[in-house]
Amino acid sequence: MDLRFTPEETAFRQEVRAFFRSEIPAEIRAKVSEGRPLAREDYITSQRILNAKGWAVPHWPKEWGGQDWDPIHRYIFMEELMQAAVPLPLQFNCFMVGPVIAAFGNEAQKKRFLPRIANLDDWWCQGFSEPGAGSDLASLKTRAVREGDHYIVDGQKTWTTLGQYADWIFCLVRTDPAAKKQAGISFLLIDMKSPGIAVRPIVTIDGRHEVNEVFLDSVRVPVENLVGEENKGWDYAKFLLANERTGIARIGLTKERVARIKRLAKETPAGEGTMWDDADFRARIAGLEVELKALEITQMRVVAAQGRRDAGKPDPASSILKIKGSELQQTATELLIELAGPRGLPAPVPNDADTLGWEAFAAPTYLNTRKVSIYGGSNEIQHNVIAKAILGL
């Protein structure tokens, strides 16, 4: 037993750290760190730099650009990426639709889509949730009816993150209305430029336009855009959601935030000194750091066990990472908004966003981060998963 990294792993960490800090533009990383909104171009610039290095999709199969790293190297990579405040490679491309196509798509689909997904030539968004299908995702109603060599898709998707930028949407659609809930669902790739698609922005609690509603009205989708088999889409969705959950603890992101809070506390005046001199505030930072360290080791235990598990089978312990990881992300943003104090009141407006200090972005970050205990299977759903899969209740 040895919780230290090997010299090789440490050298790898230093290599990726140096790359992120020297190659990804500082102004993009500063935006991520401060919680300022990113432009579409920022995501693309950052991902293409990674892709040119072969690092946009290291977890993919090697023939499609993967790196054959073991779980520990992948963990170190993501950890350093988040700590350097590099924008995550677009989740919908790299962690969702890409792995699904690589695992279940046909050769033509892989050749057509995967290189463009990795390079963010196509921006993808996710068409899973519907107004009536949230935690109970399998109750989705969007229908796809086969007509010759097309599906005709009708329905509505919602919470479509960054759908306003998207070229493509991957959707769960009901292809067999007679089948039992999960059994009649298929996984379809739909061009956002298709006639019959309309996108309506939803402004979220943080005042930003991050998510959308997507309406599908008699949208014609070529049958060749079906992934895998018809009515097997739920299996692919489960594969995708398990992938989503493993990386969801975002420990590196919370570490970056805590380190930043500590730095800002030393610069934030309070009484005779700064907020860093406030014993109560310091103790709360320390309390968060303790839990974060514990979660980091818990994550490492899951990562180390991953090498020995069937690749297809998600570890139910990843639900623990999702719950604790999201809670700690939220705790960090609570400390951030408290640190900003009254200087956090001025709201960022589009024209002066660049001139405002970090304090103006504390409240939007805090508010936005409430989502992390809801998405990816709400924390209550994760409790159900653990109760059933681990405790046998």
Partner: protein, 384 residues
């Protein structure tokens, strides 16, 4: 990065776990042992020696088995899980730790074989009533006299002192009450004239004693380590003790959580197993998360306990204790609540596990104390 035990460590784990399950494994057996005069059975102590546990952390050349913090973790977790009442922590980890870290070759040669064979038990007499959790707060004095030292003062809540033949006593050879320098350690026979011992049962079913030292004289050879320079040793002994407590707590929490989940599956109310109720399921999951977070920090404490660098070890051990304390409280309280009435009775094993977990929260520093230690060190992460 490697969480695997070696083959030998796995063997150790299997043998201690099997032994403890066979020897105890029911509340009746635990309580029968606790009713013995010293709170445990002398014959069982001899069995621990046969298992190789009593010499485990000592170097092989001194007559021990050359184990490190991982071996100690394995032993105390297995013993803790079964509420084994033997004073392993007090005698081997704490008292033995001081001897191992500060003892001269001659002292180790004299004491370690006897400890490993089960013929000699130590206790670590450091804490004082006024000190609370301050490790440097030592009012007991040791004045140099002809041929040795004369010790005067009092020690508070010395774990398993009445079971020890030799006490490791901290006393001030120089400086004022809370000075970091000037503390020394001495090996004092339990029957030394001038030493009185008031032993009593503790809240967790164990035993401890308050000591009064009134002109206790010891020879110069009784000095353990360099005169006046014992604080770093004491820090290390207590940090190793905390790491062991963390592992013990994980064993206790694991047992208590398993007991609770089992109860949820078998207890029927309203015509169904109460484990079918979602609100109870979620609380059992919260217990599991607290347990797993504690398990992670117990591993961390184990890895850091052997570090010679106190500046690195101290905050890490403090952080582990914070997590263990928080988890212990949550797991213990929830276990009682989910069991309902039966969880409130001493007829039930779970209640005893909760009592021990509660004691652990206040041994060697509570949550607030260790959180202050983490905070005073500037936390665990550097500022960006």
């Amino acid at each position: 990065m490697d969480f695997d035990l070696t083959e030998e460590q796995n063997l150790l784990k299997d043998s201690v776990t099997r032994w403890a399950g066979d020897r105890y494994g029911s509340l009746e057996r635990i309580e029968a042992a606790r009713r013995q005069p010293l709170g445990f059975d002398e014959g069982t102590w001899a069995q621990l020696a046969e298992l190789g546990l009593l010499g485990l952390p000592f170097a092989e050349e001194d007559g021990g088995f050359g184990g490190g913090p991982v071996e100690t973790m394995i032993a105390v977790e297995a013993l803790g899980r079964h509420l084994a009442p033997e004073p392993y922590l007090a005698s081997v980890v704490l008292g033995g730790g001081a001897l191992r870290l500060a003892g001269s070759a001659a002292q180790r040669a004299e004491y370690v074989p006897a400890i490993a064979e089960g013929g000699l038990r130590l206790a670590f007499a450091h804490g004082e009533a006024q000190a609370r959790y301050d490790r440097a707060d030592v009012a007991t004095t040791a004045r140099q006299v002809e041929g040795g030292y004369r010790l005067d003062g009092a020690k508070s809540v010395v774990l398993a002192a009445d079971a020890a033949q030799t006490l490791v006593v901290s006393a001030r050879t120089a400086g004022d009450r809370r000075d970091e320098a000037g503390i020394s350690l001495f090996l004092v026979p339990a029957d030394a004239p001038g030493l009185t011992l008031k032993a009593y049962p503790t809240q967790d079913g164990g035993r401890a004693a308050d000591l009064v030292l009134d002109g206790v004289t010891v020879p110069a050879e009784a000095l353990l380590g360099a005169a006046g320079a014992a604080l770093p040793v004491i820090e290390r002994v207590l940090d190793e003790g905390i790491a062991a407590l963390c592992a013990e707590a994980v064993g206790l929490m694991d047992a208590l959580h398993a007991l609770t989940v089992d109860y949820l599956k078998t207890r029927k109310q309203f015509g169904t197993a109460i484990g079918s109720f979602q609100v109870l399921q979620h609380r059992a999951v919260d217990m599991l998360m607290a347990l797993e977070q504690a398990r992670s920090m117990a591993l961390y404490a184990t890895m850091m306990a052997g570090s010679d660098d106190a500046a690195e070890r101290g905050p890490a051990i403090a952080a582990a204790k914070v997590q263990i304390n928080r988890s212990a409280r949550l797991v213990g309280q929830e276990a009682v609540q989910l069991h309902g009435g039966i969880g409130m009775t001493l007829e039930y094993l779970g209640a005893h596990l909760f009592r021990r977990l509660t004691t652990i929260e206040y041994l060697f520093g509570d949550t607030a104390h260790h959180l202050r230690r983490v905070s005073a060190a500037g936390g665990l992460l550097g500022a960006a």
